[in-house]
Amino acid sequence: MSPSQASDREIFRHSAVDLAAKIKSGELSSAEVVRAHLDRIAEIDGEIHAFLYVDGERALATAARVDAKIAAGEPVGRLAGVPLALKDILTYRGAPTTCGSKILEGWLPPYDATVTRRVLDHDMVILGKTNLDEFAMGSSTENSAYGPTRNPWDTDRIPGGSGGGSAAAVAAFEAPLAIGTDTGGSIRQPAAVTGTVGVKPTYGGSSRFGLVALASSLDQPGPCARTVLDAALLHEVIAGHDPCDSTSIDQPVPDVVRAAQSADVSGMKIGVVTELGGEGYAPGVEQRFTEAVELLASLGAEIIEVSCPHFVYALPTYYLILPAECSSNLAKFDAMRYGLRVGDDGVASAEQVMAMTREAGFGAEVKRRIIIGTYALSSGYYDAYYGQAQKVRTLISRDFDKAFSQVDVLVSPSTPITAFKIGEKVNDPLAMYRNDLCTIPSNLAGNASASFPVGLAPEDGLPVGLQVMAPPLADDRLYRVGATLEAVLESDWGGPLLDRLPGTGALR
């Protein structure tokens, strides 16, 4: 190993908060930090496939600019010079936005998403775009038209989805931070199965402008990180009101950074959701979850079992509302203004070209959901399917309201099982959908929620996540619980969970 590799290795192991401090003090330059991560990506991403596009040259140029700003004593953002990865469903001018779909292959967006703009305005450096299930539809990244991402804990297994690329990039030390988007669990489920931290802010807490819409009433961008404080710092950067998103909340962002630093749950009332456990949950998932809840109790939290009876209907409700919204949102892929066009021979009509293009450009899961949505919205079925789902959505929100009148936060496992093998569930859509059993209720009700690592399942040695759900605009409570767990668990474990990454081949 050459000396430069040795120092690279130290650099990419650091947390974002440490990197920011070293860059600000001049101990490291942003250029060095960015180069170390680009080297890491070059070394291992052939195996992990977290990235669809690496924007190396521009990242180094941005880093040099940030270094110059710091050298000149100009004011810079709290995470200045720190690199991050962007899920390839958010636009970044000059880098292709594919959404993991062939229909947008090579498309260069003419504008930046608000989230992209904010990380750049805070002097952060974008390394590239991460892999995802096509248009964020999936729980494994196997629906990406560009091939799956692999879980750094076991490269035969899925990294979760849809944001498997962002979670794997962070877990494999290819980036200290990443941006994800969460429609039914796409930040939290990948975080759980990769042993990382993932937060879905309150709906409207971060802007959807420039996020290619899957289901507009559910989508929400959020941070992916290895530590709770890192996630909070990125949350602070991207959150806040945006006039370009009509559903953006015009209120101050909860003080998530202070919450992450406080790490104190004494006196907090924590509800365990009765319906999110039991049959279908892996024994190791239940064991680590129960241990974590006992830990919280031992630290002074009051644990109360809470029933949310309509949560059992969250999955069918979601798989009507989401397809209905996505069949409408994806109608814009009509072969006219961007992306693929097939069969335009001068004879075929616009409508025929559109149908041929969508046939060629969309993958199987996207077609399934568009057709279900078309069915659920068609006259004669609307009331029984979409109309009824919207009513059950109200009942799920009411379950949350009632629960939050008794407790400060709710907890559950983040996902019923640990990472499964690539290929295991591709032909069984319903089995795939069940991965999001625990995460979907928060999307339907719009409240804040997060997944934090709580250990490895004894039976397979794979990471388990604990989900925390907080009322709308109480995102700070997520971080209080997460930071408390992190502090106590890491002292028990003798270091972060990711220190135990098995490291085969290039990962070592």
Partner: protein
């Protein structure tokens, strides 16, 4: 409910996706299972419950009607499948006889 390949073909027509015969054969039973599963929402008696179309209550918002630059035309058109005279070029939109 048993969704037939023909039903799926009809839905795909509405959704402007030209599915192959082979896809229809695979999709029909898959969609049938999914639809049967999601139909469980009707088990909940929810007659008097107001529907939610959004996660959180929405109110209409306004912003100042300020002049600002639009998207760069050349960059937008560079991403289009076909462009002509600074416009999107689209296939024929009228029937032959029209």
């Amino acid at each position: 409910m048993a969704l037939t390949a023909e039903d799926v073909a009809n839905l795909a027509r509405l959704a402007r996706i030209e599915l192959t015969e082979a896809e229809l054969e695979v999709l029909a039973p898959q969609l049938d299972v999914i639809l049967e599963s999601v139909a469980r929402v009707s088990e909940v008696a929810a007659q008097d419950i107001p529907p939610s179309s959004h996660a959180l209550p929405l109110s209409n918002v306004f912003r100042e009607d300020k002049l600002r630059p639009c998207l760069p035309r050349e960059e937008v058109l560079a991403g289009a499948p076909a462009a002509e005279q600074m416009r999107f070029r689209v296939p024929r939109i009228l029937e032959e006889e029209a």
